[in-house]
């Protein structure tokens, strides 16, 4: 019987626990307090780290016991530290999945799926709306006050978070929201996965109050859970004939549900032995991206694509939105 440790029991953690039964029906789930020694997780096969704070500490402890780890962290510094666990993970023969939440995580899978449909990809742009539990809301608040990482002309750049407003259209019922650059980890991870892509950006939705108070402490305690969130991934490039294409995919779902489904899908991949030892990032070309996306769908997340206006010249590619002179991203 497989033993799976669940570190953190918040909104996302509880949803992961429900989905682990679907991934591995006969598994034994051990809920572990991230503030403790994590000794009870030492004999587990896999640990899903879903606590709100930094996850590098629990992940490193579990890795030292040879336990494979699935991390849902979206904090830039935390993700950067987790990405450096490759050598210890290989030494212990364990897998570490970095960014197994909604973003990074599901966005990486969607980006890989869309990029694979292009002959050449120039740009990847992400937008995220909504939060899961209170820890996620605090992270959202923090993301609007930091330095946003992006890629411009192939070089990693930093811009002030909260700048670069853009109206992003998410799947219904979320619709359109103004989104701004944020201190998000996805561009950094995507730049490693797609080094030839010239532009990568990630934005997060915010209102005027969010931006105005971003550099202040949170004035009111966050909600127990945010409403329906959404994510949108847009890739731009060309097909084999040189025609410019823009492909857009997204999700409108509770953020906690998206993150839980993604984390559970990666946990299933580790349980089945699909992942190599070392650090793996969502969107890695070694992953079975289609299979993982199918698993995410099976776990309750409806994936959607933006089809735009049908292309009269080539009805077969109606699922592909072709936009010329689209809005600039940066």
């Amino acid at each position: 019987m497989k033993r799976i440790a669940l570190v953190g029991n918040g909104v996302t953690g509880k949803r992961i626990a429900k989905r682990l039964d679907l991934i591995a029906p006969d598994c034994d789930v051990v809920v572990v307090d991230p503030r403790g020694t994590l000794a009870e997780a030492a004999d587990c096969n896999v640990a899903v780290v879903a606590n709100g704070g930094p996850q590098i500490g629990p992940a490193a402890k579990l890795l030292a016991h040879g336990v494979s780890v699935v991390c849902t962290s979206d904090d830039l510094g935390d993700v950067r530290a987790l990405s450096e666990l490759h050598e210890p993970a290989v030494q212990h023969g364990a897998s570490v999945v970095v960014g197994a939440g909604m973003s990074p995580g599901l966005t990486g899978l969607l980006a890989r799926y869309l990029v694979e449909q292009l002959h050449h990809c120039d740009e990847i742009h992400l937008a995220v709306h909504g939060t899961a539990g209170p820890a996620c809301a605090r992270q959202h608040h923090k993301a609007l006050a930091g330095r946003a990482v992006g890629v411009h002309n192939g070089l990693q750049i930093e811009r002030p978070a909260g700048s670069g407003r853009e109206l992003c259209w998410f799947p219904e019922p979320v619709g359109a929201y103004d989104c701004y650059r944020g201190e998000l980890a996805s561009p950094m991870l995507l730049h490693e996965l797609f080094p030839n892509v010239h532009r990568i950006s990630a934005r997060v939705s915010a209102n005027r109050r969010d931006r105005f108070t971003a550099r202040l402490p949170m004035l009111s305690p966050p909600h127990r859970e945010g409403g329906v969130g959404a994510v949108r991934v847009e890739v731009r490039g060309a097909n084999s004939s040189g025609e410019r294409l823009t492909l857009v995919a997204g999700v409108a779902e509770l953020v906690g549900t998206c993150a839980a489904a993604t984390a559970a899908a990666f946990t299933g991949a580790i349980v089945r032995g699909d992942l190599d030892p070392g650090v793996t990032v969502a969107g890695d070309d070694r992953l079975n991206t289609i299979g993982l996306l199918r698993e995410v769908e099976r776990l309750g997340v409806r994936l959607q694509e933006f089809t735009g206006i049908p292309h009269a010249a080539n009805p077969a590619s109606a699922s592909t939105q072709t936009m010329m002179n689209g809005p600039r991203h940066g």
Binding site: G250, L293, I309
Partner: protein
Amino acid sequence: MATVNSGIVASTHAPTCAGLVVELSCTGTRHVAIKCLSEHATTMKFIRGAISAILLASAFAAALRVRGTGGTPPQHGGWRPLELPDN
């Protein structure tokens, strides 16, 4: 027939146009409107112009409706479920 001090004579058997003041001509048989006539003509001209404009706009809209090539609104597009290919 009533005589006005100004020398203008109001005809009691003039055409039933309320407030229309007429002048008795030297032949005594011809009535000529001398007042309100210009205002009356302006109003009628405005009404005729408005009716003409409405008719013209209606005809133009009808022509566009019947002959226009705008087509129907898009029947496809927007967000739809992602169809993942087989592995």
